[in-house]
Chain length 237, copies 2
DNA sequence: ACTCTGCTAGTGGCCTAGCCTCCTAGACTC
DNA sequence: GAGTCTAGGAGGCTAGGCCACTAGCAGAGT
């Protein structure tokens, strides 16, 4: 994984920064040394010297690895390996952020449609109230000139809740971080917030009537519209 | 989300590092200023002065936010907001890394059992060959004193492939990063690699015979055993 | 012998100061 | 008006230093 490999989309022409290269080197090091979870890495001073960089830069690389959950840096002790990383997987996951979007949307589609159907079958009165409240919030935001982002998230959260499926909720959690990116892009387009609001009302109606098919179809239509954003068309092309 | 909230499990008594606190402050700042994707943050020098920290520390915080996909730091230009983060969600996701493990295992269980059943129905001859090859790899690794980590991953990858379900494969991708953590812990325990190898053979047999129930049950038993590691018992308690 | 305590070497945390490279807006030239 | 040049400001990175914390060990006390 060298500098040349980075030019995925049209953007991101910036050169790889030192801390990024360092991460790769450190991952290689972990691999070569056969370090296992719980093992300690050499001291910052040693690593910095070994790789020929300053401690400040090395610290950046360690922060990055810590954020990724690879190591745990402990004051006075050192950096402890949390899990044995597969370097290729880890780095590709970082770099392909954008090109993964289409597949993420596909996964979102599947899960959220299923959630809508389940919600229609399992929703309690409280769930319905939460869904209505979310719609009200979004309507209020739009009325005040906003994009309705808060209400949008709230709505999808309420649907997830109403489905009463821990595992699927789980899935949505993992997807949600990336979904938020597309959702905001979409709501930013002229007229989109109003359209989404109407779609939400249709979905809610299906859930209220306890009709899984209607709810699922409404959700599918909604997602098809929302997913049609420039960001995606770029990534897919 | 202040320092006091951090004491989730029994571990992690270490004080929040400055860069972590800084991340929160920066996220708040983004929120207060109402910055949208594409907007630029103030310069490092300004931010460092404003928050009363050195540029080096600020740089660490920026690296962390970059790894999380919140910003894109460009040489000569500045830090550009990539997406509008929901601070609470983002930070909880970081801190709860460990406490999420039981639910992750639950999700893994559901998906992988389903994958095994699908594989039994849909596998091609090539899929079977890949599964057998993975088992051979793992056997070889164990014979040479290894823990069979490579073969283990390969096996589960082959199962996923044989299920011929893009979306579920997707799900496994998102879960796999965290799963690897538990898988390695498990294989590290004495005698575990051999047990896992036998379990793999049983699963493969079910898939070969085209029996979804047998394959699914074998996978379920396998996961139940593998999931029983100290890391999890700690987190659950 | 055992336990407890205090010390100390080594670790990460953070800062200051500085120089380099890179980007870009605006002045300048044609 | 279009292209070119340049200076200011942005991040990238280094060097060196001091402080806070951890853990292990030596010695005092039992």
């Amino acid at each position: 994984m060298t500098e040349q490999d980075r030019g995925h989309g049209p953007r991101r022409v910036t050169r790889a920064r030192l801390y990024e290269q360092l991460m790769e080197r450190i991952l290689e090091f972990i691999d070569e040394e056969g370090l296992a979870p719980g093992d300690r890495l050499p001291s910052e001073r040693d690593l910095a010297e070994q790789f020929g960089v300053s401690r400040a830069t090395l610290a950046q690389a360690l922060v990055a690895l810590e954020v990724l959950g690879v190591i745990d840096v402990r004051h006075g002790t050192g950096a402890v390996l949390v899990y044995r990383p597969n370097a290729t997987t880890l780095l590709r996951q970082l770099n392909d952020h954008r090109s993964l979007l289409p597949e993420i949307v596909e996964a979102r589609s599947t899960v959220e449609v299923k959630l809508a159907a389940l919600a229609a079958e399992r929703r309690t009165e409280q769930d319905l109230a939460a869904i209505d409240a979310a719609i009200e919030v979004m309507a209020g935001e739009i009325e005040q000139g906003g994009r309705g982002v808060g209400g949008d998230e709230r709505f999808h959260g309420a649907i997830t809740q109403a489905a009463h499926s821990g595992v699927l909720a789980q899935m949505m959690d993992f997807l949600s971080e990336r979904i938020r990116e597309t959702r905001i892009e979409s709501l930013g387009q002229p007229g989109r917030p109003e359209v989404s609001l109407e779609a939400h009302r249709a979905i809610a109606e299906g859930i209220r009537r306890g009709d899984p098919d209607e709810a699922a179809q409404a959700m599918q239509r909604h997602i098809d519209v929302v997913s049609d954003v420039p960001l995606l068309r770029d990534a897919a092309g």
